[in-house]
Assembly symmetry: C2
Homo-oligomer: 189 residues x 2
């Protein structure tokens, strides 16, 4: 995550872990399988994290806010070249990422939006499926150095702006009151 996947060698990994290359090859056939296993574990952990957030959120607004915070932290921790390397050189691991993003995340976030509509916090005119797909892609867009060059934009501000705008686009009047109340509690906490 820190240095990118392409440039790391089996020697680097052995040195970092403090074992011989021979030992590593007892568990992994090649770098490909280390990358796949790491990516798989990474998104399994992330999945558990998201499930926990959903179980512990008292309403859709809190769930959206906390999941967005998770996504931001995840995104901040990843070197932007990692996804590019995955897509280009590690297709099986990249597919694992796409499954997480396009199946798991879409399904879970769609449910949050549907619940938010039922509670009267989110506008009933919204199409949850379309907006969630757009939201997930938007989180990835903040990664794109051609679109948001890092020397010009502050990563944290992009995320905060996109989340705050996204949720305001969903909220009813009742939802806006709840959101502001939630922000104040978060701020005091």
């Amino acid at each position: 995550m820190q240095f990118g996947l392409k440039s790391i060698t089996m020697d680097d990994i052995a040195r970092k872990v403090g074992v011989s290359k021979k030992t590593i090859y007892q568990f992994f056939s090649d770098k490909n399988s280390i990358v796949y296993k790491s990516v798989h574990e990474h998104f399994s952990d992330h999945r558990s994290e998201i499930e926990k957030v959903l179980d512990n959120s008292k309403d859709s607004i809190e769930a959206m806010y906390r999941i967005s915070k998770c996504m931001k932290m995840q995104v901040e921790a990843i070197n932007p070249t990692v996804l590019y390397d995955l897509q280009r050189y590690f297709p099986k691991a990249y597919k694992r990422f796409l499954d997480f993003k396009n199946t798991f995340m879409r399904e879970r976030m769609k449910i949050i939006l549907e619940n938010g509509i039922k509670s009267g916090y989110f506008r009933k005119e919204i199409n949850p499926e379309i907006l969630i797909i757009q939201r997930i892609e938007q989180v990835q867009l903040a990664f794109n150095n051609d679109i948001f060059p890092r020397d010009k934009f502050d990563f944290k501000e992009i995320h905060e702006q996109l989340f705050d705008h996204f949720i305001h686009g969903l909220l009813t009047k009742k939802g806006k009151e709840k959101y502001n109340q939630y922000l104040n509690e978060e701020h005091d906490a």
Copy 2:
């Protein structure tokens, strides 16, 4: 725009225009230069159209609404393979498109948002530059068949959902009243 740029031959063009290939070569050195000239004209026309909309809109809400309608019509008229072909096979023409999208459109739409904040229609917390970049990319996202497969999603609905959500994310209470009033007038017109 209808059949894509890669598969069209000079013979097709000559037949469609009803002149000989020899005549075409008197004006254009090759297909590349026809593509560049067409793309250039296309975005020059689109630029004039946008300028006219800006001149004739009485406030930022109307300007956003009408520009979005322009973008939707433009997007609907273009075969999705065209942009892909441009990027891959006609880099000079693709650059013309990027100039339009990343310089002209960003600048003009940023001004709309800034004016909307001044008028009290758009929330003062928004960062116009970040949100406009995201909005322009979002319009292109609706194109992406991997993200929004055409057999599953209605193009028109994607655009309406994304615009309606985008503007709701900007609006103040005062702005919301103005927007609803504007929609009613549009609907009656």
